[in-house]
Each structure stands twice: as C-alpha cells, then as structure tokens.
C-alpha cells in the first residue's frame, strides 16, 4: 500500500516537472514533438530507477557506514555520470534500435537535475531500498507524462497565432503554468 502511495505521490501529486521544478531544461528543450519526448521520457525513467537504487546503496553502505555524509553531493553526481555512460555503452552493445532511439538523449540526462534530485530526496525522505526504486521509477513516469502532454500541446501551438515576442520559450512557460495549475487539482489527493 505504501508503495502505491509513493507512486501516486511522486508521479502525479508532486509531479517532478510541474510542481517540484526539477528537469525543466529537457522539459522546455525536447518537448517540440511527441515521439522524441517519449524517448527522452523513457530514457530518463530508466536512468532514474537505476540511479535511485545505486545511490541508495552508496548512501547507506558507504557514506553513512563510513561517516562520509559530506561527500554526498560529489559522490552522487559521479555515480550518475558514470551510470549514464555505462547505460549508453550497454544499450549500444545490446540493442541497436534502442540506442538509435535514445542515443542523443542519454548524455543530456547527466545534467538533468531531476536525477540528482531523486537521489537527494531519497536521503531526505529516508526511504528503504524497495521504496527508493519505486520512487525513482514513479518520478520518471511523472516526468514522461508531463513532457509528452507538453509536446502534444506544443504541436498544436505551432498552428496558433502567438504574439511575436511570446513565440518559443515565453509561451511554453505560460502553457506549463496552465498545466501546473491543472496538476494543482491533484493536491490533497493523498
């Protein structure tokens, strides 16, 4: 039951992009068309789940065990960067089509603050291992949902008559504001 609550909370009520403001850069940058944003979302979810489990292990067995908590930021960012590199090599070796679909997005994920955000939130919320993995996955699912919805809206937005100075980033922000307003409706669900 707690796992379901974590899923709903991380994916919908506290949506990573629209409510917590993590991962805004890819959200604005990659959300022009639906299919690349879906790939981006899937790649992010995959890395997020992995990063959540690995950083949980590192935090509890190495950092807390050796009283090295002050190294948390440095070690998490290193773990994430090497994990992304590893995933990239693995995917290229194992599945060529998947690599072609995710390829260019994988390196971008390293600097996606949502991933480091997940790792840091795990520590703050004191989740156990299983909860952490579920939390990472659901945060990724929420990210995917937000970016795909946004891409759908932006495809329509291309046809709309937007004032000249508001084309591009400004109108995207305003649309995201409306989306965030809609997501606020979920607040208090749990």
């Amino acid at each position: 039951m707690k796992l379901i609550l974590i899923f709903i909370s991380a994916a919908i009520v506290n949506n990573y992009v629209l409510i917590q403001f993590l991962g805004i850069c890819p959200f604005v940058g990659v959300s022009k068309k639906i299919s690349p944003s879906l790939s981006m979302g899937m790649a992010t979810t995959f890395v997020m789940t992995l990063a959540a489990s690995v950083s949980w292990l590192i935090n509890y067995y190495i950092l807390v065990g050796l009283h090295l908590e002050f190294l948390r930021i440095v070690s998490f960012i290193l773990v994430i960067a090497s994990l992304v590199q590893l995933v990239e090599m693995f995917v290229r070796k194992v599945s060529k089509p998947l690599y072609d679909a995710l390829g260019i997005y994988l390196p971008l994920i390293t600097t996606n603050c949502a991933i480091l955000g997940v790792a840091l939130f795990l520590v703050i919320k004191e989740y156990n291992f299983i909860e952490s993995v579920v939390f990472g996955f659901s945060a990724g699912a929420g990210f995917t949902m937000a970016i795909v919805i946004m891409a759908g809206i932006r495809e329509q937005l291309d046809l709309a008559d937007v004032p000249e100075y508001f084309k591009g980033a400004p109108i995207t922000m305003i649309v995201a504001g409306c989306l965030a307003l809609a997501f606020m409706g979920f607040a208090g669900l749990i």
Binding site: C25, I73, C113, G117, I124, A169, M173, I174, G177, A180
Partner: protein, 203 residues
C-alpha cells in the same frame, strides 16, 4: 590597455543583459522557478550561485592548461561539486532557516547548466581575471533576475517585498503567485517582455 578595459567591462555587462543566463539563454531554470516564491529566497539562491560560479571559474581558469581535453567535463563537475558542498554546509551551519527554505536546490547547483556552461564556454579558455569578471557578470545577471522574479511573486502573492508590507491592507493576495503555476506564468511573461524591450532597443 584602454581597449582591454573596455572589453573587460563588456565582459561583465553581457551577463546582465545581452547574454542574461535566464532570460536569453534559458539556463538554470529549475532553481529560478523553484526558489523565487519570495525575494529573499531569490537573493540567497543568487548569492550561493555567485560564490560557486566565481570560485569554480577561478580554479578552472588557473588549471585550464593542465586539464586533458578528454576528461574536462568530469573535472569541471568535481570542482563545482566541491564548491557546492562548501556552500551547502556553510548555509546549513550558519543560516539554517535559509538552508531549509531552499531545500535540495542548493546541492542541485551542481547540475545548474549556468555553472557548467560558463566553465566549458569561458573559464577553460580564458585567463583568470577575465574568467572572474565573466563569472561575476553572469551570476549577478542570474541573481538580479531571481530577485525581480521573486519580488513580483512576493508582491502579488502576499503583498510584501523582502517581508516589507507594500500593498495596502485591503489587498487580496493572489494565492496562485506563491504556488508553482505562478512561477511559470511570471517567468513566461518576463521573457516575453524582455524580448519586446530588446527588440525595441535594437531598432
């Protein structure tokens, strides 16, 4: 000599307006949106970024000739992460209230694209004094944007700026400005207005 002085000044000013990291280059949007529910939060986030960016730019610029090209990105990240840790622990020790209200966004300066972007684009290619000026300009531009955004949201969301009452007591606060949607809306309008002013100035 005179020429260098002018260009140093230009180096500083470009971060404030022409290449403003938030409004023009759309970098570092996450902290921009997340911490600007009040002007004071915006200011403290800005100060944290100024410290981190200036320190890392200085260090990277000093060692730029010994860093092998292949491992430059990991090197930048480690240097940045070190200074961010310093900032985070300092805030937690001396200003626990601020540290609490900024939450995980202080550690997240590590992945703030402004900081990494300046190392890659500027500090790793330029001498120390220029790197420091550039870092100062960029981070002050970032801070100013954050303060303006924070002030607008605080003024409309609770009728105060830096906790000073501005609006008359009869003012009905716009709840939404303090919440996430208000951040997106205000930043969208700010970028739009900024584009409009810039294009007017060019003509």
């Amino acid at each position: 000599m005179a020429k260098e002085k002018v260009s140093l000044f230009a180096e500083f000013v470009k971060g404030l307006w022409k290449e403003n990291p938030v409004l023009v280059m759309l970098l570092g949007l996450c902290p921009t949106l997340a911490v600007t529910n009040s002007a004071i939060n915006g200011l403290s986030m800005g100060l944290a970024v100024i410290f981190t960016l200036v320190c890392s730019s200085t260090l990277i610029s000093l060692v730029r000739k010994i860093i092998p090209k292949e491992v430059r990105i990991p090197t930048f990240i480690i240097v940045i992460a070190t200074f961010v840790t310093v900032t985070d622990l300092t805030l937690a020790a001396f200003f626990p209230d601020i540290s609490k209200s900024l939450g995980p966004f202080v550690p997240l300066i590590v992945v703030n694209c402004i900081v990494l972007g300046r190392q890659e684009a500027f500090a790793s290619k330029n001498p120390v004094h220029r790197a420091i000026i550039d870092a100062l300009g960029m981070s002050i531009g970032f801070t100013l944007t954050l303060i303006i955004l924070g002030s607008i949201r605080e003024l409309l969301g609770s009728g105060t700026i830096f906790s000073f009452q501005i609006m008359p007591a009869s003012f009905q606060p716009w709840m939404v400005m303090g919440l996430p949607p208000g951040a997106f809306l205000t930043l969208g309008l700010m970028i739009g207005i900024f584009n409009w002013i810039s294009s007017k100035r060019k003509c």
